[in-house]
């Protein structure tokens, strides 16, 4: 993602900030400005708790260029407790221990680097709930 896009979406990727629809109350992540439930404008910021459950997962052995140095790594679809689903990497867990239905929580981690001297991209990953 380009640097301006990284900057634009920082609140989403560092803090899981989405939107809540003031008309129907639906929680929206990622933010999209029009409520997917009732189609009304929805631009009120909402901070998600970061807690969710694994809906599906997959182990990446071959990745896009910027992620190649990190393989193998695990990706998952996580259903957040407020409703929306997000896609992210899992971290602090062995692939063999991942289960569909596992409770997880959001952490902010390094995603990749643009070369040795380039920008470091950070974003959300999910780890098994501690405690």
């Amino acid at each position: 993602m380009s640097l301006p896009a990284v900057w634009r979406t920082r609140k989403q990727r560092y803090s899981l900030v989405g939107e809540v629809c003031s008309k129907c109350g639906a929680k929206i992540f990622p933010p999209r400005d029009l409520c997917p439930e009732c189609s009304k404008p929805a631009q009120t910021p909402y901070s998600f708790s970061g807690r969710g459950v694994v809906y599906s997962f997959a182990v990446v052995y071959q990745a896009s260029e910027e992620f190649e140095e990190y393989v193998p790594y695990t990706v998952a679809m996580v259903k957040l407790e407020e409703g929306p689903m997000v896609t992210a990497q899992l971290t602090d867990v062995d692939p063999e221990e991942v289960r569909i239905g596992m409770p997880v929580e959001m952490v902010t981690r390094k995603l990749y680097e643009e070369g040795e001297r380039g920008v470091i991209h950070y974003g959300y990953k999910f780890r098994p709930c501690v405690g």
Binding site: P30, Y55, V60, S64, E68, V75, A76, T87, L111
Partner: protein
């Protein structure tokens, strides 16, 4: 104003593979000239070029003009049409609309992709330009990874193992053996499928369709004029398309291809047929899981049962619903933006009864469907044979 019936009166295709000696323009011209010769037309009113990644991989945009110029169609209006994997089919849809709407008589649709000028890593990364850049790709997801997520959940919900999916690739390779344009004509076994190296688990190397160079083209004209040019014109009985959320995580049901369902339903309705009337289905087998979900969305199997059609051999040339009759994406190959047009060319050959050893008996109705991304755009056509 009534819409006109549209016929396909000419087809052309190149081999799918690594064409080091041909540029994107040369590939397109080869298919175009072949289709024009088959149709015996002397004039082209509009050229639609289906292509997914020419800017990124062939370093050439403005493809409509580039190809019109190179293929002897200077001054003809021409456009590149892009919808990720559904680009070729989308180009056909726009060509269909132009003829059906009475605004053009002879329309040329060419799908073309040139990937081998770019290094493999760039090709693999570029495939992920069709997924959500901000909320899928940036977080470490690729096009294959999203398909793997769908497959894993599907296996979990319906109780399938990896070997249950082998039938799709085995069938595709078997059919490609008799298709001289196919990229991979070697047979594969279920054993080889199960033991293949993982790419993004549970998707392995023998489950992933190969991306390569290729070009295919068709010529359209009104049905009323068709017999002047082609003894066996194939009618486009219907053409429909739909989108779904770009990101997989935004889907109402990630295991349901809603855009495939909607476009197929509309296509059946306009053509006046039902799934049981379909003689062959050129579905979008980018991966076995997509083939299974396509069969379900198009009404050939209940939810979660699409895989059983492959397990029971129902997808073979003499099965209940033959798929990938010339090798599909898996074995004929997947030249991205060109693939949708290859599917149509192959269906036309079947309906003309010119499919040789791969001929589906008494083929009269063909369903052809292309998927962009993981279902973000789906374009469906129903074709009717001349007899």
């Amino acid at each position: 104003m009534r819409k006109r019936e549209v016929a396909i009166i000419g087809v052309g295709q190149t081999k799918v593979g690594e064409h080091w000696d041909k540029s994107i323009r040369q590939l397109a011209a080869e298919a175009i000239l072949s289709a024009i010769k088959d149709a015996k037309i002397e004039r082209v009113d509009i050229l639609y070029v289906g292509n997914a990644l020419s800017g990124e991989l062939a370093l050439q945009e403005h493809l409509g003009a580039a190809i019109a110029d190179f293929a002897g169609l200077r001054t003809v209006e021409a456009y590149k049409v892009e919808a990720a994997g559904a680009s070729g089919a989308a180009a056909l849809r726009l060509g269909y609309l132009a003829v059906a709407g009475g605004l053009a008589d002879f329309v040329l649709v060419c799908g073309v992709e040139k990937v081998t000028d770019a290094p493999t890593e760039r090709v693999n990364s570029a495939l992920s330009l069709g997924i959500d850049g901000e909320y899928e790709r940036e977080l470490g997801l690729s096009f294959i990874a999203l398909n793997a997520l769908i497959m894993r959940r599907y296996m979990h919900e319906y109780g399938y193992e990896l070997k249950d999916f082998a039938g799709f690739s085995v069938n595709s390779h078997k059919n490609a053996a008799h298709n001289p344009y196919a990229m991979f004509r070697n047979p594969i076994t279920e054993k080889a499928f199960v033991e293949a190296r993982m790419v993004v688990e549970p998707i392995n190397l023998l489950d992933s369709s190969p991306v390569a160079d290729g070009a295919a083209a068709v010529v359209l004209c009104p049905v009323d004029m068709a017999k002047d040019f082609q003894a066996k014109p194939v009618r486009i009985a219907s053409s429909a398309a739909a989108t779904d959320t770009l990101a997989l995580h935004d889907r109402k049901d990630p295991l349901f291809l809603e855009a495939a369902y909607l476009s197929a339903r509309r296509a059946y309705e306009v053509a006046g047929i039902k799934p049981e009337d379909v003689d062959l289905f050129e579905l979008y087998d980018s991966f076995a899981i997509m083939a299974a979900l396509s069969l379900e969305a198009a009404g050939f199997a209940e939810r979660g049962q699409g895989v059983k059609l492959a397990m029971e051999g129902q997808i073979s040339l003499d099965g209940r619903i033959p798929v990938s009759t010339m090798g599909g994406l898996k074995a004929r190959g997947n030249p991205l933006g060109a693939t949708g047009v290859y599917q149509v060319v192959e269906a036309v050959l079947q309906l003309r009864h010119e499919a040789g050893q791969n001929q589906v008996k008494d083929a009269h109705w063909a369903l052809v469907q292309s998927i962009g991304g993981v279902g973000g755009t789906v374009v469906t056509h129903v074709l009717e044979g001349p007899d």
